[in-house]
């Protein structure tokens, strides 16, 4: 065996069994993007539960020859491909996350003030305007719908809809949704101030009535039935949300409720984050579309916030007990961040004005509203 043969074998090993010679600039660019989201999660604490595994997933799949996404020679799925296929493609994870969310959520403030339900509908304005705007850039109808739903500010709903309608955009859409949800405190207050007067921001709202245990128990059942009849396409999501809430409020399955809101939720969050990150290989992600998605996502979010505030203005024309328009911004469903932002914005005007519980109502209505919007899109294009 000559040195020449030895070098040949060595080079063959280096090129086929290591990633040294197969690295390209796209992969390095994706590492930068992945590490940026890891930085946001770790240093800035922006949605760390999701952005950390997403960031890691992005970095991990952008190495040459790594058996994480795709299939092996025998046709079996690689590890992340299994998570993605059974978790996201099969729509399991978003629905299980909604089960956990339902188990964690107290719908009391919404039940006590049902009028705020309409705000959750008005705050979907951006979803539809963005849908139209994106079409001008020659997105398909399915892609436009999946980009539009970002403004609903509901991560699982965005992932559920995108996985159904435009799986190629899953990474960009999910990242945009979670990034902007984390930036609610930066995005919303200026828009609220722009569309309200000082006098309107000083409106004090009546204290919410107490809600009985029985009423809270009946709520998930009745909402589930109405949604299932009117928008059957979104029953998997809403059904799980309401099942989780029913488990919580019935009080007879505390063990199940606790599992749904803690262990189960944490487990699926890990798989969701990795799966979303794993869809973002440089070949697919580095194009103009993701940039446009991030741009439109921001616009979408801003219009949704504006839609919620304007809805309150319209409602106030007819109401005797006025609603503080600041809580309109909470109509986007970033729970509970948007409600907290409403509280802080209100207290900047009047330290004795406590809007948090009032803002939780439209916030929860936003969850139902964005799921309803997703259901409408699935019914149209699914």
């Amino acid at each position: 065996m000559s040195w020449h043969d030895f070098i040949d074998v060595l080079m063959q090993i280096l090129t086929t069994q290591t990633g040294l010679f197969a690295l390209d600039i796209k992969m390095v660019a994706m590492w930068a993007i992945g590490f940026f989201f890891i930085y946001l999660a770790v240093a800035k604490k922006y949605e760390p539960l999701l952005l950390l595994p997403i960031g890691f997933g992005i970095v991990a799949v952008n190495f040459p020859h790594v058996p994480l996404m795709g299939f092996n020679e025998a046709g079996h799925r690689h590890l992340f491909e299994i998570f993605y296929h059974y978790g996201v493609e099969w729509e399991v994870i978003p629905c299980v996350i909604f089960l956990g969310l339902g188990a964690m959520t107290d719908f009391g403030p919404l039940i006590a003030n049902p009028r705020t339900m309409v705000i959750g509908a008005g705050a979907q304005l951006g979803v539809f305007i963005t849908f139209l705007g994106v079409l001008f850039f020659d997105f398909s109808l399915r892609e436009a719908a999946s980009v539009g739903i970002i403004g609903g500010a509901d991560g699982p709903t965005t992932i559920y809809l995108t996985a159904k309608l435009a799986p190629d955009l899953l990474g960009a859409n999910a990242l945009a949704a979670y990034s902007y949800m984390a930036m609610v405190p930066l995005i919303q207050p200026p828009i609220v101030r722009l569309f309200t007067t000082k006098k309107q921001r000083l409106i004090r709202m009546k204290q919410l009535r107490p809600v009985s245990k029985l009423e809270k128990t009946m709520f998930p059942l009745s909402v589930f039935m109405v949604i299932s009849i009117l928008i059957p396409a979104v029953t998997p999501l809403m059904g799980m949300l309401m099942l989780g809430n029913f488990m919580r409020e019935s009080g007879v399955v505390d063990r199940l409720s606790e599992t749904a809101q803690n262990s189960l939720m944490n487990i699926v969050t890990i798989f969701l984050g990795i799966s979303v990150g794993a869809t973002m290989s440089g070949d697919k992600f580095l194009s103009a579309k993701p940039l446009m998605i991030f741009g439109f996502g921001l616009l979408d979010f801003m219009i949704c916030t504006m839609g919620g505030v304007l809805t309150v203005h319209i409602m106030n024309l007819f109401l005797k007990d006025k609603i503080n328009p600041i809580i309109g911004a909470a109509g986007v469903s970033a729970v509970p961040m948007a409600a907290r932002v409403a509280q802080v914005t209100g207290q900047q005007e009047d330290k004795q004005n406590f809007l948090l519980m009032h803002a939780i109502g439209p916030n929860l209505a936003g969850v139902i509203g964005s799921a309803a919007a997703a259901g409408m899109f699935i019914a149209m294009f699914g």
Partner: protein, 111 residues
């Protein structure tokens, strides 16, 4: 019955709602002609939907119809208001019922 003060407006609405649901349900179940007609309407609507909306079409396609895209979007946006509005009405009605029940319980307890 509704003139009696013992029966609250909420209860009256509940009874009305139940009557309506039973009547409609009975009508749908017992009238084959109506069921057949509604089935045909559903089929027609489904056919129309398949022809009008193809989710993979883009504005650059020659047969892309902006009108249909915009109309269907407006209908869906209004649809969200209707869905959440229905839930709101149900919550308001049930809220009244529960508030009355609680008030009665408190009144009985204070006696």
């Amino acid at each position: 019955m509704f003139a009696n003060k013992k029966y609250s407006a909420g209860k009256a609405l509940l009874v009305l709602g139940l009557c309506l649901a039973i009547t409609l349900g009975g009508f749908m179940a017992l009238t084959p002609a109506a069921a057949h007609a509604s089935g045909q309407a559903v089929e027609k609507a489904a056919d129309a939907g398949n022809k009008l909306i193809d989710g993979n079409s883009r504005p650059s396609d020659p047969d892309f119809d902006w009108g249909i895209a915009i109309y269907t979007l407006i209908i869906r946006f209004v649809g969200i208001f209707i869905v959440l509005g229905v839930i709101q009405v149900i919550m308001q009605v049930s809220g009244r019922i529960f508030t009355n029940i609680d008030a009665k319980k408190k009144a009985q307890a204070s006696k």
